[in-house]
């Protein structure tokens, strides 16, 4: 079984979702002793690529992430050369643009946002209805495309040692070009955060977010917010999690002063652990929570910050 894993290897280190997709690809290949070829792009250093647990790494040095047509040509060409039966992506920003294109080009069935490996029947589970249900999907085509939802597959220890080749084929000119990249602040990007501290209207005004940010800093967490808070411009739109904002699935989601409307839950119900702080004991969010505190945010938050500082000092 020949498996292609496509990953974005740019940035300071190998991202966790790259390791997740490699684990996924390796497990499929291992069923009949097949090979895994990691296909990537950009300027990741040679030693980082050769440390990945694939049989081979093929890197296209001269293209970026913005033009999904070039990336599609790269993956389709490599899939043909390797005779790939499975093509695995991360369901991240780049994978969401490229995996469906590759599937359409190859007339291959695609599971978008897989949360399991194939079961004995070859069916793969994914979230539907914004996480309120799951579906088992059967792919009916000889070549199968899967994008793996980040934080769904535990990374397994790797035995590094890949040969690295530079891709030399013609990928055409880029039609989409990057004019500018505005770096975010120093905070942790929300989609990649393992811990998220989120707050809503219960904070009463944007001037009160200092405590939320302080707790996030102590917990090495990203900050997020509810829709009303983003709509009132208390916080930037990219922090809005929920049905119409960003869907996230961190290990820990702490919600402060958010009632937990069904539309908000749809964006966070994939979180492994949810802790809710709300002054209203009837807030619907408590029904979806693992831990809850009924109390005033302005009294509870300082206690949480103090406890987090104590925990950090002890470890």
């Amino acid at each position: 079984m020949s498996v292609i894993v496509f990953a974005d290897t740019r940035g300071g280190k190998v991202a966790k979702n790259t390791l997740e997709t490699l684990t996924y690809g390796r497990k499929i290949a291992a069923k009949d002793g097949g090979t895994v070829t990691l296909v990537t792009f950009g300027d990741a250093p040679q030693d980082r690529l050769s440390a990945l647990d694939a049989n081979k790494v093929v890197v296209a040095r001269n293209i970026g992430d913005a033009d999904s047509q070039q990336l599609t040509r790269l993956v389709v060409d490599m899939a043909g050369k390797e005779g790939a039966q499975w093509i695995i992506f991360s369901h991240d920003d780049t994978g969401k643009a490229v995996a469906p294109r590759v599937a359409a080009k190859l007339k291959a069935g695609e599971v978008a946002g897989a949360i399991t490996l194939p079961n004995e029947q070859g069916h793969i589970k994914r979230n539907v209805f914004s996480g309120k249900a799951q579906a088992w999907v059967e792919l009916k085509t000889p070549v199968k495309v899967v994008s793996v939802l980040p934080n769904s597959i535990p990374v397994e220890a790797a035995s590094p040692g890949a040969s690295v080749e530079e891709y030399s084929g013609d990928l055409g000119a880029a039609k989409v070009t990057v004019k500018e990249t505005r770096k975010a602040g120093e905070g942790i990007p929300l989609p990649e955060a393992e811990v998220v501290v989120s707050a809503g209207r219960g904070m009463k005004g944007p001037e009160n977010w200092g405590m939320v940010e302080e707790l996030a800093k102590e917990l090495h967490a990203a900050t997020a917010c509810s829709r009303p808070v983003a709509d009132m411009d208390w916080r930037p739109h990219h922090e809005h999690v929920g049905q119409t904002g960003l869907a996230i699935r961190p290990n820990l989601y702490i919600a402060i002063g958010i009632s937990g409307a069904i539309q908000h839950l749809a964006g966070v119900n994939g979180s492994k652990v949810i802790a809710v702080i709300n002054s209203d004991p009837e807030a619907p969010f408590f029904k979806a929570a693992d831990y809850g505190i009924v109390g005033d945010a302005f009294e509870v938050l300082p206690k949480l910050i103090e406890a987090a500082k104590k925990l950090n000092a002890e470890r």
Binding site: D65, G109, H237
Partner: protein, 246 residues
């Protein structure tokens, strides 16, 4: 500028999620359906704003049976000029993209807008698949979109950064929060929508590349563990020692 907006017919955000036929089909009985919020609030409204500023037409396209027509009329009430319905129950995301591609391929659209995903299937598949089938570039997860001098410029949030990307028309764009504000249709729009053209076309021949074999509901959540407010610090201890997430 000729603009095509993909409109999906989905259960309301608060709809009960249940299944029938041995958990193989969504139970739509008694469920209110709406325009997929990403299609409506961001793709359609931004399409209308661009048309109002620069001239042109906004056509919507929906793949689905006659049951989707009230949803299509809602999009017309918000301001689309005309609508197309491909008369078939779509088999999967690829089928939707293939049906839209079969219609759009010789129509010369400058801009094709779709929401970043639907709130029922959540696949984010149709936009990029359509772009591939039409051999067009694709701007994914755009939070801002402008068109000038035959070029589209979009902003997108990538790995926590904001990327400004540019591309010559024609192009397919998937639209996310930030691109536009929701518009509530007024009475005049609702009246006008009744007589706007809604063309029903037969489907192209396609085959299913994937099928959903079974749905399931997540296991019920365990009861919440409550901590008294005066001992709030204990939450941090439990998250560390019991839940092991910090």
């Amino acid at each position: 500028m000729k603009i095509l907006v993909l409109i999906s017919h989905v259960p309301d955000t608060t709809a009960r999620i249940a299944f029938t036929n041995d958990n193989t089909a969504y139970d739509a009985s008694g469920v209110q359906f709406i325009v997929n919020p990403y299609d409506e609030w961001y793709a359609l409204v931004r399409g209308l704003e661009l048309k109002e500023a620069q001239g042109g037409t906004v056509t919507t396209i929906t793949v689905g049976g006659a049951v989707t027509e009230p949803t299509i009329r809602k999009a017309l009430a918000i301001g689309a000029d005309d609508a197309v319905r491909v008369d078939t129950e779509p088999k999967d995301g690829h089928d939707v993209a293939a049906q839209v591609a079969a219609f759009a391929k010789d129509k010369g659209y400058d801009l094709i807008l779709a929401g970043k995903e639907t709130i029922d299937h959540n696949g984010s598949q149709v936009g990029p698949m359509l772009a591939e089938l039409l051999d067009l570039p694709f701007l994914s997860l755009a939070t801002k979109l402008d068109v000038a001098d035959g070029k589209a410029t979009a902003e997108r949030d990538v790995r926590g950064d904001v990327e400004v990307v540019e591309c010559a028309l024609p192009v397919v764009v998937s639209c996310a929060k930030g691109m536009a504000e929701q518009r509530i249709p007024n009475m005049r729009g609702i009246m006008a929508a009744r007589t706007k053209p809604l063309q029903v076309i037969p489907p192209a021949a396609t085959e299913a590349l994937s099928t959903t074999v079974k749905f399931e509901l997540p296991p019920p959540k365990q009861a919440v563990k409550m901590i008294p407010a005066e001992e709030a610090g204990k939450l941090i201890e439990l998250l560390h020692s019991e839940a092991k997430v910090i």
